[in-house]
Symmetry: C2
Subunit: 210 residues, 2 copies
Amino acid sequence: KNILDENNRLAEKNSSLLEKHGIRAFNVLGAIGSGKTTIIETLSEEIENLRVGAIAGDLAGQDDYLRFKSHDIPAVAINTGKDCHLDAHYVSHALEDLPLDEIDILFIENVGNLICPVDFPLGTEMSIVVISVTEGDDMIRKHPLIFARSEISVINKIDLADVMDVDINVIETDFRKINPHGKLIKLDARKGDGLEELAESIGVPYSLPL
Amino acid sequence: KNILDENNRLAEKNSSLLEKHGIRAFNVLGAIGSGKTTIIETLSEEIENLRVGAIAGDLAGQDDYLRFKSHDIPAVAINTGKDCHLDAHYVSHALEDLPLDEIDILFIENVGNLICPVDFPLGTEMSIVVISVTEGDDMIRKHPLIFARSEISVINKIDLADVMDVDINVIETDFRKINPHGKLIKLDARKGDGLEELAESIGVPYSLPL
Ligand SMILES: Nc1nc2c(ncn2[C@@H]2O[C@H](COP(=O)(O)OP(=O)(O)OP(=O)(O)O)[C@@H](O)[C@H]2O)c(=O)[nH]1
Ligand SMILES: Nc1nc2c(ncn2[C@@H]2O[C@H](COP(=O)(O)OP(=O)(O)OP(=O)(O)O)[C@@H](O)[C@H]2O)c(=O)[nH]1
Ligand SMILES: [Mg+2]
Ligand SMILES: [Mg+2]
Ligand SMILES: [Zn+2]
Ligand SMILES: [Zn+2]
């Protein structure tokens, strides 16, 4: 109980620091390998007139961090070592290492996990949770909490729905049962299909068309 | 620290109970949606002369449990609610609900997560960790611990390697760096390709050929 209270306190601190610098921050959560980094990479290229920054949360390695750096955006890597989720404490340190006056939009890529990250708010404005059709059609009903609590949910890799025999309508029906008012966006993040709709749903201008 | 000690004590208890009943048990871990249930379903159909049982660990829902039941094998569902991994305590209760004298091989499907399950042994003989090519080629280097500690690692959905532009050799090279002596098996669990090799590596007879 104390851990969560302490985390909420730090999340508040993060949120006021971001507000002071006029930064809108998004917590990008999701299943392992669902496409979180690809989505942030593409958004960082296509968002117009706003400066994008990123935090790459992972257990180990610099893979996602280096992918962000290759897009010439300010970025920081967080290696959690053992924790299966980022928390506000990790993020508060990452914010110290970012040039906050050079960023308008900050994407925080959480560790791949559909369970624990939901208990640890980071101080961001919204959460975007990403699953992929390649994980099967039951992801939403198996992890109701994270889909109920996120403002935006994304079904990625829709280009593979046929070869996976996955009916996206099944996923959508499950979603509506758990989160009738939330937003559900279908994406092919590699081709960029659906990213304009995602940018619109988080209120950022997007260059047209890909 | 105490939690892990207590878990190890209970894991020992599970292991001696399984031994008493002559049951060989396997902890099937892996990424969310990587194909764990499909692998157990197919093995349960193809393993010859031995009686298979299964435990389905999930956050919520009966999806995997019902899939096991459809193969007419003894099965139990564990809903963890909030925990992102099974532990020996959950399993000790599940064992009470299984007809142990009717089972030779027990597959315990852990919650989809490449991080925490590694700290919570269940009392099984071996761990089988499953990833899928659809998660990208960096899964092993990003989650070194679980691949270093598991006896058998599986790369599933190899039928989709081309459409994903994933080079399986990259995954295999990462694996050898982390676990030079472990076993790495490539699978297409839907078609059954590679399952005979998996059955052989865990020492169970397999009906030939699919
Ligand atoms: N076919 C297809 N592949 C995609 C799509 N989006 C991402 N990928 C691929 O999926 C794999 C994983 O993508 P990442 O962006 O690394 O996924 P992630 O969620 O950041 O992964 P982790 O950080 O490791 O949890 C890579 O091989 C991507 O090229 C898509 O829309 N369609
Ligand atoms: N193309 C392809 N699809 C597969 C393969 N193995 C499993 N699938 C599909 O992948 C999806 C997920 O498979 P599951 O067996 O439910 O995966 P899981 O690891 O048990 O998933 P969770 O328990 O939810 O973590 C389903 O749609 C399966 O049909 C494979 O070898 N190739
Ligand atoms: Mg990533
Ligand atoms: Mg399953
Ligand atoms: Zn966690
Ligand atoms: Zn955990």
